[in-house]
């Protein structure tokens, strides 16, 4: 196996000539949902039955999610070929043709990983999905077995950690990360090096490092796939962080809805313990480190740093006032660095290739690459990694293959539920920290959802507000009550009972919620509403003044009232959400998931 040559821009040099045919089956959570477990079983059965001298391997997070289940076949003397939609019933036919025979089955192929077109199968480099990507964090994904430490080490893994530990002082490590200016990938964009530096300077022990892997938001699956496809990539960054800040205990806090990520991360930690890369006196340097993998319990707010800390302490995850920052007083009151999964996964590449190399990638103020999860009404729902500075148009029309069935574009919800909806004319904005804010949105964690003309923008505002109301921890009144009353206003507008005064009130209450909420959830809760009123106000006004829903969504839902006359699918949101939230219930409405 080759090494990850991140500076070469991409692919693992593992695409070396194999000795025997290799069959890779993508088996991350998304692939398994599409039937990859059956595919894998069938591949193993066919290989055994045919008596081929071939190797079957598991991999994950290559990113071609729309093609899942995905199988790659690499026969000596031919380029590696990626096949899509390989359900169990197609396995035998495919393998008999391309391993048993000489037919590489161009009809099932997506791309070949070689340098030239092969048997009518285009190169990966020439595909729209791949050609704008710059794979650094995802370099191993699809090419290694995520459950194999040997695969990770064999592709250059843990050289950055050993380099830090044996050749660099903690201050040098921090200086390098600061010079690279890697900013927090969870959404806030705070420079990681500065967090590390302030935690290191505290004279209060012990200190902790937490990987905030509690992604938790609908349609954001980049950290999940990264952990399922290359768990060691993030762990190595976490271990370097503990060395830099002088911590002997680290935590990986993963949402409970990610069972496979939890399992693979624990497996990776166990493997490291077994070889002595975790534990006491690591590599004879006297460094001790314990890593705990801990599940969340289904609260979106647990992704907020102080809420994550309370969750790890076995308490309700309600954010607190700052200061003190976590770096001063975090877990159990001790200095704690909380970094996002993706942020940590950047660190080994910075240490291995130098901050000079890293800061050449991306843009001046937003260095490096960014993982994007692209979903909704696009041809290719996928995971991708592009340099910072790519445009929204690049993501939608190249990487994600354009609108599904050529449907007209309506909006992109950038930055997820905490972001804002953007119209066509903004699509040339670049993905960087602070750029989409000019139009009332943000890059956030890079989970983007694209909508076509069948989407009602009032419904979108309703959806986002309902999410924020449900996920509000309830501590700050403006967030708890404000989101509920905004939801009631939006419901009125969708009911055809809205007035212009509702639109004014939506704006006024948004300002209050933003101003008087403690944490990012509350401060971002009205952002979808404000962005929709900014870019789609004509559509909202049509609902109010002409009682018309141009997408035909609101009226359609009324055509089929439920027994109590409430909009189907959300019977409790009858305009009295904040009153309902106080009625006794076995589980509070605030956490009604």
């Amino acid at each position: 196996m080759g090494t990850v040559s991140a500076s070469s821009g991409g692919r693992l040099e593992a695409v070396l000539e194999p000795q025997v045919p290799l069959i890779w089956v993508s088996a991350d959570s998304g692939a398994l949902a599409a039937g990859a477990a059956d595919t894998l079983r069938e591949v193993e059965r066919v290989v055994a039955q045919q008596g081929w001298n071939a190797q079957v391997r598991k991999t994950g997070a290559f990113g071609t999610t729309w093609l899942e289940p995905v199988v790659d076949v690499h026969v000596p003397g031919r380029p590696r070929i990626t096949y899509g939609h390989v359900t169990a019933d197609k396995v035998e036919g495919l393998l008999r043709s391309c391993i048993g025979g000489e037919n590489p089955r161009a009809d099932l192929a997506f791309a070949n990983h070689g340098d030239a077109e092969y048997a009518g199968i285009p190169t990966l480099d020439s595909t729209d999905w791949w050609r704008l990507q710059r794979r650094v964090l995802l370099a191993r994904c699809g090419y290694v077995n995520p459950e194999s430490l040997a695969d990770y080490v064999g592709s250059g893994g843990y050289t950055a950690f050993t380099k830090s530990l044996l050749e660099m002082t903690p201050d040098e490590v921090i200086a390098e990360v600061k010079a690279a200016n890697v900013r927090g990938r969870g959404g806030a964009g705070f420079p990681a090096g500065i967090k590390w530096e302030s935690a290191r300077s505290e004279r209060n022990f012990p200190k902790f490092v937490i990987s905030n892997s509690h992604e938790g938001e609908p349609n954001v699956f980049k950290d999940r796939r990264l952990m399922e496809g290359d768990p060691h990539g993030m762990l190595e960054g976490l271990m370097i962080a503990t060395y830099a800040v002088g911590s002997e205990a680290a935590y990986v806090y993963i949402g409970s809805e990610y069972p496979l990520a939890l399992q693979r991360m624990q497996h990776a930690v166990d493997d490291l313990k077994a070889v002595g890369l975790l534990g006491r006196d690591i590599l004879g340097t006297g460094m001790n480190l314990k890593v705990k993998v801990v599940p969340g319990a289904g609260a979106y707010i647990s992704g907020e740093a102080s809420a994550a800390i309370y969750g790890l302490q076995g308490q309700r995850g309600m954010p607190r006032t700052k200061p003190p920052r976590s770096a001063e007083a975090g877990l159990w009151g001790r200095p704690t660095v909380v970094n996002n999964t993706e942020t940590l996964a950047n660190v080994p590449h910075i240490i291995a290739n130098g901050s000079g190399w890293y800061s050449q990638v991306g843009t001046e103020l937003s260095t490096g690459t960014k993982l994007f999860s692209l979903a909704g009404d696009v041809e290719h729902v996928c995971l991708a990694e592009l340099e910072m500075g790519c445009t929204l148009r690049d993501l939608i029309y190249t990487t994600a293959g354009g609108m599904r069935e050529g449907a007209p574009f309506r909006s992109i919800l950038a930055g997820g539920i905490s972001g804002g909806a953007l119209p066509e004319r903004t699509l040339d904005l670049t993905n960087e920290f602070g750029k989409l804010e000019s139009e009332g949105s943000m890059m956030g964690s890079g989970g983007y959802i694209v909508y076509d003309e069948g989407t009602c923008m009032v419904d979108l505002a309703f959806y986002c507000t309902r999410f924020n109301r449900d996920e509000s921890c309830g501590k700050c009144v403006p967030c708890r009550i404000g989101t509920a009353s905004q939801l009631a206003m939006l419901q009125r507008i969708m009911d055809g009972a809205g007035t212009e005064r509702d639109i004014d009130r939506l704006i006024e209450s948004s300002d209050d919620i933003i101003a008087y909420s403690l944490c990012g959830l509350g401060q971002a809760a009205p952002v979808p509403i404000l962005s929709i009123l900014k870019h789609y106000q004509d559509e909202v006004r049509e609902h109010v003044l002409e009682k018309k829903c141009r997408a035909g969504v609101c009226s359609m839902k009324f055509a089929r009232p439920t027994s109590n006359g409430v909009r189907a699918g959300d019977a409790k949101d009858d305009g009295a959400g904040f009153i309902r939230a106080r009625t006794p219930s076995p589980l509070p409405v605030l956490t009604s998931r």
Binding site: D28, S29, G30, A33, A34, T65, E68, G216, E217, P218, N219, V220, F221, R224, S256, E257, V294, P295, G296, A297, G298, A299, Y300, G311, L312, Q313, G314, Q315, R316, G317, M318, S373, A375, G376, D377, V381, L413, G416, I417, I449, Y451, G454, D459, Y463, F467, D470, C473, R560, T562, A568, G569, D570, A571, K572, P586, L587, P588, T591, S592, R593
Partner: protein
């Protein structure tokens, strides 16, 4: 199929208070020996729920006594986090994904059909104890399958309302509780 139930008539309670049940809770706690008990609380509650389908009050009491955590603090956690259930659940757990893609791509139609067919709202269990319906507004990480549902830990999608009805009707009665 069955009517809305606010009680738990027909739902078998997997917690019987037997010695074996108590031993299981103790076994879960023993698995965290040497760890900080507060840090172990949420993971331990997950283990309890994994076995019983919910967190029985007696289990919370037991954890409270053995780990010296006030039982109010345990209920504070149980009532805050959406994962935890305080009542026995149906034998089949049906999640309808209402992520930001599924919701707009037919997920609400699936929800409507499931609610009408089973006669329950979200977070309710049918009177015969067969079905519990839940709304997922987190991420299954399989947006390429939108709109999707998860039935007893298996994801199905993209799904039409007819296909969902077919699944509901053809689920064997007294399906195993996971």
């Amino acid at each position: 199929m069955s009517n809305v139930s606010s009680t738990t008539v027909g739902i078998e309670d997997p917690w019987t208070g037997s010695k074996a049940d108590v031993a299981r809770i103790v076994g879960v706690m023993d698995g965290f020996e040497g760890e900080d008990s507060m840090e172990s609380l949420i993971p331990a509650l997950h283990h309890v729920q994994e076995h019983f389908g919910y967190v029985p009050e007696a289990a919370a009491q037991l954890i409270s006594e053995r780990w010296s955590i006030p039982v109010t603090d345990i209920f504070a956690v149980l009532t805050f986090y959406a994962d935890f259930r305080l009542e026995p659940q149906g034998r089949n757990i049906l999640w309808v994904c209402e992520g930001a893609a599924c919701y707009f791509m037919g997920g609400t139609d699936l929800a409507h059909v499931a609610q009408r067919e089973l006669g329950v709202e979200y977070n309710e269990t049918t009177q015969d104890g067969e079905w519990t319906l839940r709304r997922a507004d987190f991420c299954f990480g399989a947006c390429q399958l939108a709109p999707l549902i998860e039935l007893n830990h298996t994801i199905h999608g993209p799904l039409t309302t007819d296909q969902l009805l077919h699944m509901i009707h053809n689920q064997p009665a007294h399906g195993s509780h996971e």
